[in-house]
Symmetry: C2
Subunit: 330 residues, 2 copies
DNA sequence: TTGTAAGCGTTATCAA
DNA sequence: TTGATAACGCTTACAA
C-alpha cells in the first residue's frame, strides 16, 4: 500500500508537506499541492484512516446499536442516519443486541474501543436503566432514539408516543367501539409507558373507564399478541390498541380463528407502520413513526451537538382493521 | 482514557510486559499477569483497538456492502453474517449503495481505507462488471453473495437460482397453467440470468415454447411489476414467475385491478420469501432463499479462507397465489 | 512555504 | 521472564 512517505520520496519532499497538501492545508504552495495530488493519484494512494484516526484521537465512525437490524423500523432508522452521516463524511458501525442487555453492554464496549465519534442507541428491551451506558461510554457523545432512558445525558429522539396512542385510541372510540383493550409493552421502557398513558388519556377524555384487566402487558411479539387477543375477546372487548405491529399480527391470527369478518366484529390499530401492515388482510390501521426521519434527526443531533429531546410526530393511517364499513374478506 | 502505559507505570513495569500480559502471551509470569489484569480492571482499561490495528496492520472489522439495508433479504444476510463474525471477534461495518455504482465504489474505497479484514459484497444492480472492485480492494479478501461477478476472485455465495426458478416454473406448469410469463431482472446480473435460464429450462422440459415476448426484463420493483403484469395479462398469460418479491407485489396490484379472484384466474410465484409475502392477500408462493444462512456462509467462507462458490438451495413455499383450489378473497 | 521531530497507543524484535 | 527500542502511518507544533 502506498503511504504518504512513498509520495514524499518520489517527489523529494517530506511526509509532512504531503500530509498538508492532501489535507488541503493553505500553507502549501499551489504547485506542490498539485504535484502531490498527481503523484498520489499515480501511485494509487488511499489514506490509512486507522493511522489518521489514531493520531487525531478521533474517528469518523458512528456506532449504531439496535435491538434487531431486520425490523423494518430499525433498518429504516439506520437508513436515515446513514444518509445524513455519509454526507458528513462519517461511516456507520452497526451492532445488534437481539434484545439482550449483555449484548448491548458488549456492543457499547466494542464501540468505545474503536473510539467511535458517537453512539446512536436504542436499548434492548430488558435493559432496566442506563447505568451501564454511562459507565462504558464516558465522554463519547450518546444519542438515544425510540427506546430511551431520560436520566442518561445527551440528545434523545423519541416518537410522540403519548400523543400517537391518544390519537389511535380516540379514533377507535370515535369509530364507535365500546370496550377497548390494549396490547401494552414493557413498563421498563419509557416509550411503552407513554403509549399506555396516551391510551388511558383518550379513554378518560371520552368518559370511558380505564380497566387494567384489559391491559395486556409485555405483549410485543406475534405469539403473545395472539394469546392476549384471545383473552381480550373473552373479556368482552370489541377493539384493541396495540403498542406494536407484530403483536397486532398475532391479534389478527386470533380474529381469524374466531371467524371475524370485518372491523365491526373487532377493531385494531397498531403502532409502527411496518411494510406488511398495509399488505396483509385485513390491512392494519397503524401509527407511522417515521423511522427514516427519526434516524436523520438522530444523526443531525450528533452533528449539531444538540442535547435536547426531539419528538417525532406519529401519523395515524386508517386502513381496514378499524374501518367498520369495510369487510375484510368480502 | 487509561492506556497500557498507565498500567505499566502503576505497577513499575514496562508497557511491553503489560501488552503481553493482556494478550495472554505465555512468556509472562503468572504472578505479573494477574497483577496486570487486576490493575487494568481497577483503572477501567479498555484496549484502543485503533492503535492495535495500526500496529498489527490489520483490523477486526468486516465491511458489508449491500444495495439496501431495509430489504429483508439483505438485513437477514447481514444478521447471519454478524452472528458468525461476532463470535469470531469481528465487527461489522455496513454500507448501503442504494443500487448506485458510484456509491458502491465509494463504499469499497472507504472500507479499504479502514483496512478492513474482508469485504462481503452484493453488487448494485447497475454495476456491469467487477473491474472497479479488483482495482480498489487489491489484496483485501472479497466474499461476494447473491449478486456476484464470476470473474472476480474469492469466495461466492449464491442462491440456487437456476434450480429455484426451474422448481417454481415447474410448479406452475404442473398446476395446469398454460402460458407462463416471467418478470425477469437485469441481464447484467448473473443471478437474474440464471433465474431466466431455469424458467426456460422448465418450459422446454415440459414441451412448452419459450416466448421472449412474455419475458419482462428489468422488472424488479413494484411499479415495473405492475406495468409488466398488465402487459402479461393482455398477452394472454395465465401465470407469472417473478424473479423478485416486490415486482410480484406490483403484479398483484394489477390482478386486483382486473378483479381476479383466485389463482385459477392468474397464478404467480415470486423469488425471495420476504415477510410480507406470507401475510398479504393473496399470500404469495415464494422461493425462500435462506438469506440468514447465506450470510452465515459468507462469514464462514471468510473465516475459513475459502475461495470456492457455495450454492444455497432455494425452497419452494406454496401459498395462495399459485393454489387454484383456494379463492383469494373468499 | 517547507522541514524537523515528536507522538497517538500498541506490538514485535531483539537483547538482557 | 522482562526491558529497551523501534515501528505502524499519520498529523502538528515549532523551527527554519
Amino acid at each position: 500500500m502506498t503511504t504518504i512517505t512513498d509520495i514524499a520520496k518520489a517527489l523529494g519532499i517530506t511526509p509532512s508537506t504531503v500530509s498538508r497538501a492532501l489535507a488541503g492545508n493553505p500553507r502549501v504552495k499551489e504547485e506542490t499541492r498539485l504535484a502531490v495530488k498527481k503523484k498520489a493519484e499515480e501511485l494509487g494512494y488511499e489514506q490509512n484512516v486507522v493511522a489518521s484516526n489514531l493520531r487525531k484521537g478521533q474517528s469518523r465512525i458512528v456506532g449504531i446499536v439496535v435491538p434487531r437490524i431486520h425490523r423494518e423500523f430499525f433498518s429504516n432508522v439506520i437508513g436515515g442516519a446513514e444518509s445524513v452521516l455519509n454526507k458528513a463524511g462519517y461511516n456507520v458501525l452497526i451492532c445488534q443486541t437481539l434484545e439482550s442487555l449483555d449484548a448491548e453492554i458488549k456492543a457499547l464496549k466494542t464501540l468505545k474501543n474503536y473510539r467511535v465519534a458517537a453512539v446512536l442507541l436504542s436499548h434492548a428491551i430488558n435493559a432496566k436503566n442506563g447505568n451501564h451506558v454511562k459507565e462504558i461510554l464516558g465522554s463519547t457523545p450518546l444519542i438515544q432514539f425510540d427506546r430511551v432512558f431520560p436520566d442518561l445525558p445527551g440528545a434523545k429522539i423519541v416518537g410522540a408516543n403519548c400523543e400517537g396512542a391518544y390519537k389511535a385510541t380516540m379514533h377507535l372510540i370515535q369509530s364507535g367501539y365500546k370496550r377497548i383493550g390494549t396490547l401494552a409493552g414493557y413498563m421498563t421502557s419509557q416509550a411503552y409507558v407513554e403509549r399506555l398513558a396516551g391510551y388511558r388519556m383518550a379513554l378518560e377524555a371520552s368518559g370511558m373507564p380505564f380497566d387494567n384487566s384489559i391491559v395486556y402487558y409485555n405483549t410485543i411479539v406475534r405469539e403473545t399478541g395472539y394469546e392476549a387477543a384471545k383473552k381480550a375477546i373473552e373479556a368482552g372487548c370489541d377493539a384493541l390498541y396495540s403498542c406494536g405491529a407484530f403483536s397486532a399480527l398475532g391479534a389478527v391470527d386470533a380474529f381469524r380463528e374466531k371467524g371475524f369478518k370485518g372491523a365491526d366484529d373487532f377493531g385494531i390499530v397498531a403502532t409502527s407502520n411496518e411494510g406488511f401492515t398495509g399488505l396483509m388482510s385485513p390491512s392494519l390501521s397503524t401509527l407511522n413513526q417515521h423511522p427514516f426521519e427519526m434516524g436523520e434527526a438522530a444523526a443531525r443531533a450528533f452533528l449539531e451537538g444538540r442535547t435536547d429531546t426531539q419528538v417525532i410526530p406519529m401519523e395515524l393511517i386508517i386502513r381496514q382493521s378499524s374501518n367498520k364499513n369495510n369487510k375484510w374478506l368480502k
